[in-house]
């Protein structure tokens, strides 16, 4: 997902911010990357708790009502452009957003998943967690390229492409990695959204983990999401990663 070595713009937002502000900044960086052929951008950020849903989720019959109820309960609902399903974020998750405008011929979504996933797996390995890309039955926002550790979902990846008539594709790839445990059960939040919105999907308990849980007694004290953010940024810088 990257055309060279020096034109990759990496922006890190280590402080927890409002999710709408973070997504606005993300979109600005994405659009800038799309405007320059061969350029690429990576934005790494954290936000207050929110539920990020897809455009398909937003077409559920009672979406507006579900969004109102969840916002009143402290879970603002925002619509993202990438695929999958509802994914809850909170200060203990780290979000990665990569974007580039690239020649479309021969490029595949599988390669893009591998390009974004490999540095994240490496960053997790640096903490001592053996993770890989795979699928966890019953997990929220489930896919074949989720980040899996110990049979549970530790993170998710998703994409948004737009073809153009000049042979290029505008490619966005996003990931969220669960570093810290949330104050609230995340599967309950996702199931409440789909129940309220009139969707059929329900996720299963016990399908999600976190970096802290995987580390167990070996987990360091302090802000593990901040540590993951910095560790991942170092890996991305050394890799010049998104070369698909």
């Amino acid at each position: 997902m990257h055309g060279g070595g020096d034109d990759m713009r990496i922006v890190i937002a280590p402080d927890v911010r409002a999710v709408d502000a973070a997504m606005t900044e993300q979109q600005s960086l994405v659009e800038r990357a799309f405007a320059e052929p061969g350029a690429a951008a990576l934005f790494i950020w954290r936000a207050e708790q929110a539920l990020l849903v897809t455009r398909q989720d937003a077409r559920l019959p009672a979406f507006e009502r579900a969004a109102r109820v969840l916002e009143a309960e402290g879970w603002p609902v925002l619509v993202r452009t990438s695929g999958g399903g509802a994914f809850p974020v909170h200060p203990g998750t780290v979000q990665f957003a990569a974007a580039a405008r690239l020649p479309a011929a021969g490029r595949s979504i599988d390669a893009i998943y591998d390009a974004l996933g490999a540095p994240l797996i490496e960053a997790l390995a640096s903490f001592g967690v053996a993770a890989g890309l795979g699928e966890v039955a019953g997990a929220f926002c489930r896919g074949r390229h989720d980040i899996v550790a110990g049979g549970r979902k530790l993170g998710g990846l998703a994409q948004h492409w737009r073809s153009t008539n000049d042979g290029a594709a505008r490619i966005f790839a996003g990931a969220s990695v669960l570093a810290e445990e949330a104050a609230q059960n995340l599967t309950d939040v996702v199931n409440r959204f789909y129940t309220l919105a009139g969707g059929d999907f329900r996720c299963a308990a016990g399908t999600v983990t976190s970096l802290r849980r995987e580390l167990g007694a070996a987990a360091p004290t302090g802000d593990l999401a901040a540590a993951l953010l910095q560790r991942a940024a170092t890996v991305f810088r050394s890799h010049i990663p998104l070369a698909a």
Binding site: T54, R55, Q56, T81, S82, G83, G84, A104, A105, G106, R107, S108, I109, D110, Y113, C141, G143, R144, H145, G156, L157, A158, Q159, H160, W161, R162, S163, T164, N165
Partner: protein, 79 residues
């Protein structure tokens, strides 16, 4: 006439056999401008937006929720 076609290499069908047409943003028979996003494919947590390859009248051949694979022609633009 121009085909509205899913790229041949977009995904590995040995891993993900098929996707679906998640949405059409124009109705069959609508006039569409060139390069306007006219349809959205969903495959493996990826939203893939397809631009109109030319200006003209849209003819939909695979409806919303229809199953697609790389190389599938989902519609055409008649000039």
């Amino acid at each position: 006439m121009a085909d509205v076609r899913i790229p041949d290499d977009l995904w590995d069908t040995s891993k993900t056999p098929e996707g679906i047409v998640a949405n059409w943003f124009y109705r069959d028979g609508s006039e569409v401008p060139a390069n306007e996003t006219i349809a959205e494919i969903m495959v493996e947590k990826t939203n893939y937006e397809i631009a109109a390859p030319a200006a003209g009248t849209l003819r939909i051949t695979v409806p919303k929720d229809g199953v697609v694979r790389p190389g599938t022609v989902i519609g055409r633009i008649e000039g």
